[in-house]
Symmetry: C2
Subunit: 353 residues, 2 copies
């Protein structure tokens, strides 16, 4: 049984059973967006690690070194935001092909530094390693949160509303555009075995906004922190692997069901246009596609006042109610045109596609 | 100019100039074994990250998955030990080839978990990513240290004694043995361009101890923590890249010179035997070779009592005085048979060899 055959989630579940039981000071352990550690004097440290790999998460054919550095930090800040933690520091592990230009490595660090500066994050250290394979940038980020103010995936209750920030699908559409141009990671559209048909000749080329959303995802740091501080949500997760994945994960971790209203999904205009031009169903594509670094929240039905207070404080991005958590723990309903579908499974990194 | 041409140290120096200035809460920033971060209530968090890469740090031809998992954590615990920090938690980022067997990944986690348990380290989280290239295991470890009790590379003063733990050269000799057998990472001995001659026919095969030291380095956690707590040292560094590298780094960071006495070097017996059988100078090989995860300390000349107290508390490994730090910041002397040589440069990960 190979890693590719088993898939990421199943592999993770297997590995978690093999770890030693964390000490009592680990308040949130493996399996959430980040870990929460109690330090000796009752502080809460939130730590997360995430790697971006050439050929999997980006391609040097279309992402500049600065894009890559930006992205490697952004995906980690997004994980901290999903825990409602304020990012403080980062460690950067660079696994570099020997043939890479030094100027490119410098640009990569510049791209990361610019984002770090914007969020007041100190790059506290790191490591440089050689590889004979693809470029890997692995970032660990640390942040702070007040006791009991962090948001895990496990806090949603039946009756809570499901809210999502920003718009959906733009990053996935942007990645498709890059693949179509033969520049994206993974099999190109139209490649044998990719399962993706070439677009009809003369199909419109889309706006560049979708591609930018793929290359430079915006971590929703202010929103996540504000939601936690105001206790406006009971659970949160970022959409790194797409909405469908996040909905499944939060429902499973919280032991609740979920009903999502397709008509309410804030699908990005550029993504909607792109999929329309290619004859693809936008709802299915937008909720299955990964790389949206928006946040999903479980908001108590009586918490509207708190949510309004957060929205006054953080106006951008917008937040949209897209569904509700339900009592039946097995329910995964996508309501569409009066019919009930099952929410498809999300993005799987090891899936062959 | 490529990464390989510039070399790791020069690349690091260039990149450090490009980072934003760390906030005042970062007490020790990039460039040491680990970073020290002040949390809001005066705690000191020590964090470090280090990756092991297939084909560079290990080969799956001779290291078991458990060896690889062990090693990935061990090198990080060694960095914390070199800061005198007690390890508390780790995050594990696995960058996995899709073709890797799930059973192997599980064994890898088992090997890591066993070491984590031995040192009371909680694996608090991590991440799994696919790659089309070699296996990469990147670990971030966090630990605690009392205010002002950590040990950096920069604290050595002229007149301080240079001490080293354990024995030297075994890991480097073990790696040579594996390469000779065609199983190690990097060019094999006798391969074109490796600059390494094949041993004479009939040369003795060495004891397996050296190979074990390469595969399973022992992080000197108890010793490092005890030295810091007792204030028995003013500076420390681990020998991940070998003694020569560490001596150069500590002297440069501290702005002092250094004189090392070749006769006092605790060269491992199995390494000495191996190099003798191959007609290689053991002193040169032992101090240049990487992968010794022993600790180097700068001990104040008047600190003998404190050092003795530490040795009563931590008897294993032994520690050996091998030299002295001096006033002349440019001095890098290896005293040998009454003659003064210059200490060679250490291991460079990006060097072509």
């Amino acid at each position: 049984l190979t890693v590719a055959e088993l898939g990421e989630h199943a592999l993770l579940a297997r590995l978690l059973t093999r770890l030693p039981r964390p000490s009592a000071t680990v308040l949130v352990g493996p399996g959430d967006d980040a870990a929460v550690v109690a330090t000796a004097r009752n502080e809460r440290l939130v730590v997360t690690t995430d790697a971006v790999v050439e050929g999997v998460h980006f391609s040097r054919a279309y992402s500049t070194p600065a894009d890559i550095g930006y992205r490697a930090l952004a995906v980690n800040l997004s994980d901290l935001a999903a825990m409602a933690a304020t990012p403080r520091w980062a460690l950067v592990s660079l696994v570099l092909p020997g043939s890479m230009q030094v100027a490119e490595v410098e640009e990569l660090v510049d791209g990361m530094s610019a984002l770090a500066t914007r969020h007041g994050v100190s790059v506290a250290g790191g490591n440089i390693t050689r590889t004979d394979g693809p470029l890997v940038v692995d970032v660990t980020a640390g942040g702070e949160v007040a006791p009991r103010k962090w948001l895990t995936r496990a806090g949603a209750r039946a009756g809570d509303e499901l809210w999502v920030s920003g718009t959906l699908g733009a990053a996935a559409a942007g990645l498709e555009m890059l693949r179509l141009a033969g520049k994206g990671p993974g099999p190109g559209i139209g490649d044998p075995g990719s399962g993706r048909a070439l677009p009809a000749p003369g199909s419109r080329l889309p706006a560049p906004g979708c591609v930018a959303r793929h290359k430079r995802p915006e971590p929703r740091v202010r929103l996540g922190v504000a939601m936690g501080r105001a206790r406006a949500a009971r659970a949160a997760m970022d959409l790194s692997d797409g909405l469908a994945d996040a909905v499944h994960q939060v429902a499973a971790a919280s032991g609740v069901g979920v009903r999502v209203d397709a008509a309410s999904l804030p699908i990005d205009d550029c993504a909607r246009e792109w999929w329309k031009s290619r004859g693809v169903d936008a709802v299915t594509a937008a909720i299955a596609g990964g790389d949206d670094y928006e946040l999903l929240f479980a908001v108590p039905a009586k918490g509207a006042g708190r949510l309004r207070a957060v929205r006054r404080q953080v106006a951008d991005p917008a937040v949209t109610k897209i569904g509700v958590f339900t009592k039946d723990a097995h329910e995964r309903v996508l309501l569409r045109d009066g019919k009930e579908d099952v929410i498809p499974q999300g993005f799987e990194h090891f899936a062959n596609r």
